[in-house]
Amino acid sequence: MALTTLSDSELLVEFRNPVTKEKAFTSIIKKYQEKLYWHLRRMVVDHDDANDVLQNVMIRVWHGLENFREDSQLYTWLYRVATNECLTFLEQQKKRAAVSLSDVGSGLENKIKADQNFDGKKLEWKLQLGIQQLPEKQRIVFQLRYYDEMPYEEMSRVLETSEGALKASYHHAVKKIEEYIKNH
């Protein structure tokens, strides 16, 4: 049976076998790469940054998957690793920006506007700009709910925040983005 057709539990078993470890790891990457990539890309905007963060995420997965306790879904755990890695990256960006006295938020906005396909009149580009106005954690909450349609219960395990707080955060985020689109 091809590893790509195996369930997460079966992939974990194959990963823990030294003979099939690399093959199982490749299957896991292929299974979740696009979801994780777009989750990161929407946060960091730039492809090269998203690629760097994604590769760091996968290296963490390689080292940490052996000890994964399976008390949550593999998908949830991967998202948690990716989100933490992304926040770490943005924190490092902030520190560099603080040194250079530039604004990280405007830096991301500039990256959006610098995209070769950018069209400020189109609603989907306005949406991306509106998203970048949000604080980092609120941005993550919005994207997980809006794009990935992740249930609050699962999101609370990814972000280790209560469901109530996540709902409130998302509702605020929607209002802010809507306001931005109306005003721009």
Binding site: I29, R41, H47, D115, L123, E124, M150, I177
Partner: protein, 258 residues
């Protein structure tokens, strides 16, 4: 107004400069805030109770719910096809990376050298035969359920036949002693009691009857004595003499007629 005047008077009494200031609201409200407030709160409640993200967004923001979710960013060609290889390459280039062979080599060169040496051997052609043997066994699928029911039915029929036959035989061998006493005796006595025992019983019965006869004679003699105790002895002698004479005459007559 009365209450406000009271406060202002109080401030004036205290000599406060605030008594002369006209309080004004410096905060501004968005236009139409209160007109929309009730609907917003109601929509928020519906969003909280929504079944999924789509329904939730339709209550929170009809505008966003109608916007295409396609992200406008572009991805370099072949990025996802090569990603797994790039990641593995990066991992292997890390100084701490080791394959399983390298790991055991580091931990124990001795065990590493013994890894491919298997001391056990299987008989020639074992695995080929095993596969076909399993297939053959697998084709012999017998339905247990039907067989079991069949056995139970056959057993019930056999028991019935034996029972009925036994009853028939038993009844046919029954002999009525009133209707056929000799047959009953032959069946119940002859077979159960030996001939010697029967002879012994007959002899005993004869002895008993003789003893009974002697006992009867003794009884008769006693009775005669009782009856004859009042009869003189001369008359008894005369009677006996007459009896003897009579018997003699009868014997002579008998011999003359022959």
């Amino acid at each position: 107004m009365t209450y406000r005047n009271t406060i202002l008077n109080e401030l004036a009494d205290l000599g406060s400069a605030l008594a002369n200031h006209d309080p004004q609201n410096i905060y501004a409200l968005p236009a139409g805030y209160f007109e929309c407030l009730a609907d917003q709160i109601l929509n928020r409640i519906k969003a909280l109770e929504a079944n999924d993200a789509k329904e939730e967004l339709s209550y929170l923001s009809p505008i966003l719910s109608n916007v295409s979710k396609k992200v406008p960013y572009s991805v370099p060609a072949g990025f996802f096809q090569n990603l797994s290889e790039d990641v593995l390459k990066k991992i292997s280039e890390h100084e701490d990376f080791q394959t399983s062979e390298e790991e055991i080599e580091t931990l124990s060169p001795l065990l590493s050298s013994l890894k491919n040496k298997n001391p056990y051997s299987a008989p020639a052609g074992y695995f080929e035969k095993l596969e076909t043997g399993i297939e053959k066994k697998e084709t012999k699928v017998i339905s247990i359920t039907n067989r079991r029911w069949y056995r139970l039915a056959v057993a019930a029929v056999v028991i019935g036949i034996v029972t009925i036959s036994g009853l028939a035989i038993f009844r046919s061998k029954q002999v009525d002693p009133n209707k056929n006493p000799q047959a009953w005796i032959e069946k119940n006595v002859d077979k159960k009691v030996s001939k010697d025992k029967i002879d012994e019983f007959v002899k005993l019965a004869e002895d008993e009857s003789t003893n009974v006869a002697f006992e009867k004679d003794d009884v008769k003699l006693a009775e005669i004595k009782e009856l004859m105790k009042d009869v003189p002895e001369k008359e008894i002698e005369d009677f006996l003499n007459d009896a003897i004479a009579l018997e003699s005459n009868n014997d002579t007559d008998g011999s003359m007629n022959e």
